[in-house]
């Protein structure tokens, strides 16, 4: 049995999802409320991806100091806020994660 037809349809729908507003917006003006709402899409979507990654471990909420990913993420957020440098943020975040994992394991 081949799953290629299902994957082709899934790929086409993904493409159409990404094309939807890009293709339609040329034909009408965006209402002002929608334009204001769009400003909040990046912080909302990115936070919805990041936060569970930091505080959920195997489906459980972990807000304590033993959660290395949460602490490393907070350190990275501080660096991102102060430096606005992507490489530095990743470097400090990964260094913090490795250090914390080593500490917590020992």
């Amino acid at each position: 049995m081949s799953y290629l037809p299902a994957l082709a349809v899934a790929g086409l729908l993904t493409f159409l999802t990404r094309l939807s507003f890009i293709a339609l917006l040329g034909r009408f003006e965006l209402p002002p409320l929608a334009a204001r709402a769009l400003r909040f899409v990046p912080p909302a979507v990115l936070s919805a991806i990041i936060v569970p990654e930091l505080v959920l471990r195997g489906g459980e909420l972990q807000l304590g100091w033993r959660n290395a990913r949460l602490l490393a993420g907070l350190a990275a957020a501080l660096v991102a806020w102060k430096s606005r440098n992507v490489f530095l943020t990743i470097a400090v975040g990964m260094a913090a994660l490795w250090a914390l994992q080593a500490l917590l394991a020992g």
Partner: protein, 247 residues
């Protein structure tokens, strides 16, 4: 009379798009390799595993589809699941639509194909940085193209490495964490006012609350809630300030 040397060129824009996408590849490459390994161990033929990376071209949806194929789910379930997991891409489409509006159909279709989480994050950051400037480059779509193509190539290549070479990054390195760190590096400097912070906090809280929802539905719902929270915070702020000015 010689024309003034152009400050912005297609080539420069394209290359800076490629360059700004590079840090993200640290997180994407291991993710692609793991997908390749996982897809093969789930029983997908090599051509299907690699083909999915170019046909669907969406990391988390590919992981879930591979799992569903492994579980012998019907094709309709796979299609529906991929659609739901990728619903957030409609938000990206709406968010970038005003900026790519003047482009022709070919450009719009091509950029839409390349519109993943990681290309969106880099492209929208660039467009927001330009906001309120008078000397905006006329070739910003080349920047978008550079970022999108760089990610596309990295995804195809890392999938192939995972499939054909079987190279394995030890899980203890936790390299997948670089993806979250990249998103942190992009979102934190963009939080310029209280309404933006409210949107981020609400979306984060809702994402935790909705994490157990099936088909990753928690993600689009949390994003929607975050946008509403941002709008609400903005409206609350606006009314007292105009009232204060009138008094």
């Amino acid at each position: 009379m010689l024309p003034e040397a152009p400050r912005f060129t297609r080539g420069n824009e394209f290359l800076s798009g490629c360059r700004d996408e590079l840090p993200i590849l640290l997180g994407v490459a291991p993710f692609g390799m793991i997908y390749g390994l996982l897809a093969l161990s789930a029983g997908l033929p090599v051509a299907v595993a690699q083909g999915m990376s170019s046909i669907v071209f969406a990391g988390s949806a590919q992981f879930i589809a591979a799992q569903l194929i492994h579980d012998r789910a019907p094709g309709g379930v796979i299609v529906l699941t991929v659609l739901v997991v990728n619903l957030r891409h409609a938000l990206y489409s709406a968010s970038l639509a005003p900026y790519v509006r003047p482009l022709g159909r070919g450009w719009k279709a091509g950029l839409a194909y390349l519109l993943t989480d990681e290309a969106y994050a880099v492209a929208v950051t660039r467009y927001l940085r330009d906001e309120g400037r008078s000397d905006v480059s006329p070739y910003r779509h080349w920047y978008f193209l550079g970022a999108g193509l760089t990610l596309w190539l990295a995804w195809q290549w890392s999938t192939a490495v995972g499939i054909f070479v079987g190279a394995r990054v030890p899980a203890s390195w936790s390299l997948d964490f670089t993806l979250a760190l990249t998103f942190i590096a992009l979102v934190v400097p963009a939080l310029k006012d209280r309404a933006g912070v409210a949107a981020a906090l609400a979306a984060g809280a809702l994402a935790i609350a909705g994490a157990a929802l099936p088909y990753k539905l928690g993600l689009p719902l949390a994003a929607l809630g975050g946008v509403l929270a941002g709008l609400g915070a903005e409206a609350l702020r606006r009314e007292p300030s105009t009232a204060g000015r009138a008094a």
